[in-house]
């Protein structure tokens, strides 16, 4: 096994009702210091984590949406969203934030690494990962 592992962070919970979404994100940020291949998967209520237009000012909780937008700078290369979960919730890709990515060495750029994938692809991507973090 090479030193580079494929890490997948699996997000299946809504934000704010519990802290799991936010503390999971903290792991991703810290993990950036380690050179692994990192992807995030959003399924079930986890897809709500990426919905645009959250405003926590009245609920007095920390709004961590801006942090998702910076994930490209933290070594996250792929953010996948389960299509069936999205559709069941009456949402489309247009309802989700976009996250840009740039490789500073090769200057390769991607406008948006958030990608909606079908269930078969979710299964395949999870199976391909070396480690799946659950929160």
């Amino acid at each position: 096994m090479s030193d580079i592992k494929k890490f997948m962070y699996l997000n299946r919970r809504a934000p704010y009702g519990t802290i799991y979404a936010w503390e999971s994100l903290e792991v991703v940020l810290i993990g950036a210091a380690f050179d692994q291949e990192v992807s995030l998967m959003f399924a079930d209520d986890g897809v709500y984590q990426l919905v645009k237009g959250c405003d926590t000012s009245e609920s007095d909780m920390k709004n961590f949406m801006p942090t998702y937008r910076t994930l490209g700078d933290y070594g996250v290369r792929y953010m996948y969203v389960d299509q069936a979960s999205l559709e069941a919730r009456g949402l489309t890709a247009d309802d989700l934030i976009e996250v840009a990515w740039e490789d500073w060495e090769t200057e390769e750029e991607v406008d948006n690494i958030v990608e909606v994938v079908d269930s078969a692809k979710v299964t395949e991507l999870m199976a391909e990962s070396d480690v799946v973090f659950s929160f």
């Binding site: 009702g17 209520d45 009456g90």
Partner: protein, 101 residues
């Protein structure tokens, strides 16, 4: 007056909303709070839980809707938005409050 039921779980994750509706009487008030407010969204697979519930009145907590990016135009018709003062008012104007966790 009838009772107030609070529901704080996403209807996609747990059956709390479904059962709060099932076990409440005609005229009951059901207040969606925390992740429960996702149940108030139009066009979801769970929409019919609320649109199909006759004789119950639904409310959703404003600050929780805002935190989750659920704009007013996405709410199921008839769901009334309340703030915390409205929550308190609902508790006081109904017979008792049951947390349907």
């Amino acid at each position: 007056m009838a009772d107030l039921f609070t529901v704080n779980k996403s209807p996609f994750e747990k059956n709390s909303l479904e059962n709060a509706i099932k076990f409440s009487t005609e005229g009951a008030s059901i207040l969606l709070i925390e992740d429960g407010v996702y149940g108030a969204s139009k066009g979801t697979a769970c929409e019919s839980m609320i649109t199909g519930a006759a004789g119950k009145k639904f409310y959703a907590l404003k600050s929780d809707l805002k935190a989750r990016g659920i704009a007013d135009d996405r709410l199921i018709d008839g769901v009334e938005v309340v703030d915390y003062a409205g929550f308190v008012e609902l508790v006081c104007s109904t017979d008792k409050t049951q947390a349907w966790l």
